[in-house]
């Protein structure tokens, strides 16, 4: 039997402590709340019995500090328990490391392939010659021809690629022999083969709104590219001059243009192909795309397999 005053003090303390238990996680409160409150009640009585109000205050300080400390511990413990449950039933949170591993592997693989491809690809050099094409036509002749500017340019481009021009280039550079050794196992190449190859190495582009034509030559040798571009320009100039002499017209009525080489080609030591920077960027972009595709697919498949395995293990089946 307790004294009324003890009863009131202890009961008020229990009433307050019971409300403070709300700071525990719900699961812990439901499982141990009643037992904790029972123990608190017992300790309250002991404290009151030892030193009355002073003992109760001292116990309250100790119990409140204990409540705060253990509530934090229980919340942390609850979080860890939830994580361990997720390991079994929510494996979709774990594939991120798997995804990044797959993504990284694929990305590096693609990037490495692009680097290897870039550095084993044969280098191609380009040299450019610029020529100025001028017609010395009388106004009435020009009117009679009624050729628009772009058609005139197309005629000149065709003339540059003509047999007359290319044959001169071939002879001047002794290409049947030189390229025969290089591309034909030492056997001389035919004129038609050489001309086809020259054409494949040429790029002829008129400059808009001008009478300038740019002749670009490509080769695995900077020097050969420069020689080729310059010889094509020179051969075309000679061809035009030859036509003008054959027709023997006065300059006023000549249909053959005069060609002036305004910028000779020089060997360019920097290759235009492969474009290493561009290849790296493209390789990286392709690697990202492939990494995303393979990573998402692979991580999804692995997660599905793990989920099946973990759930089976959790259910012991």
């Amino acid at each position: 039997m307790f004294e009324p005053r003890e009863n009131r003090s202890v009961e008020r303390s229990c009433w307050l402590f019971q409300r403070l238990l709300v700071i525990y996680p719900r699961v812990h409160r439901e499982e141990y709340g009643a037992a904790i409150l029972q123990l608190f009640r017992d300790q309250c009585r002991d404290a009151w019995g030892r030193a009355r109000t002073r003992g109760l205050i001292g116990f309250w300080i100790h119990a409140f500090a204990d409540l705060l400390k253990t509530s934090v511990l229980e919340h942390l413990s609850n979080l860890n328990r939830n994580k361990s449950m997720l390991k079994y039933f929510r494996p979709q949170f774990t594939p991120f490391p798997v995804f990044f591993r797959i993504f990284g592997s694929v990305f590096l693989l693609v990037l490495l392939a692009s680097v290897i491809f870039t550095f084993i690809s044969p280098e191609t050099y380009r040299s450019k010659t610029e020529i100025l094409v001028k017609y010395a036509l009388a106004e009435d002749t020009a009117a009679a021809m009624r050729l628009p500017d772009h058609s005139i340019i197309q005629v000149q481009v065709a003339a540059i690629q003509s047999h007359a021009t290319l044959n001169k280039v071939s002879q001047a550079l002794n290409l049947p022999t030189v390229w025969g050794k290089k591309y034909n196992g030492g056997q001389p190449m035919t004129e038609s083969e050489v001309e086809s190859m020259i054409l494949s190495k040429l790029e002829i582009a008129p400059v808009r709104n001008s009478d300038i034509i740019v002749i670009s030559a490509y080769s695995d040798s900077p020097e050969e590219a420069a020689h080729l571009a310059n010889k094509v320009a020179e051969a075309y100039r000679q061809t035009c001059a030859g036509i003008a002499q054959q027709n023997n017209p006065t300059p006023r009525t000549s249909v053959a243009p005069s060609v002036v080489i305004i910028d000779e080609a020089v060997p360019n030591s920097i290759p235009v192909r492969p474009n290493k920077s561009l290849n790296m960027v493209l390789g990286a972009m392709f690697g990202i795309v492939m990494g995303l595709l393979v990573g998402v697919t692979g991580a999804g498949l692995i997660a599905a397999a793990k989920k099946h395995r973990n759930v089976s293990a959790a259910l012991n089946c």
Binding site: A34, A63, T70
Partner: protein, 128 residues
């Protein structure tokens, strides 16, 4: 996993709260308040666990299968049926024994270094 397969050494060293609770239960099953009284008495009042600490520790001991809750009451007529009783498991007994031996080894070591006398008695964690 069967508890007999666990090596008690893997759980050592124990925290003071865990050791004293297991020690209190080594004599037999007890409820929370009785455990608390036993700990206070055995340590001379030096270790006082709050209710949150006691039941938080008991929860972890239950999870580790070092203690178990009992359904039977020593004397239902004399006790509040809301009280929950706990007792050591076989693993819990082996663990508390291993911890006691570990502490005894430390005491011997301290004695060998003449930090404490061989006839020293321990009361509440401090020797007299």
């Amino acid at each position: 996993m069967p508890t007999t397969d666990l090596d008690p050494e893997e759980l050592l060293p124990l925290t003071p709260a865990v050791f004293h609770i297991l020690l209190a239960l080594s004599d037999g099953e007890r409820h929370g308040y009785a455990i608390m009284q036993e700990v206070v008495e055995s340590t001379g009042g030096q270790i006082k666990m709050g209710p949150g600490t006691l039941y938080g520790t008991i929860k972890r001991l239950l999870a580790a299968r070092l203690v178990e809750e009992t359904d039977e009451r020593p004397d239902p007529n004399l006790d509040d049926e809301r009280r929950r009783y706990y007792q050591l498991t076989a693993l819990g007994r082996r663990v508390v024994k291993a911890e006691a031996e570990r502490l005894a080894t430390l005491v011997k070591l301290a004695q060998g270094k003449r930090l404490i006398g061989k006839a020293a008695h321990f009361v509440g964690g401090s020797h007299v």
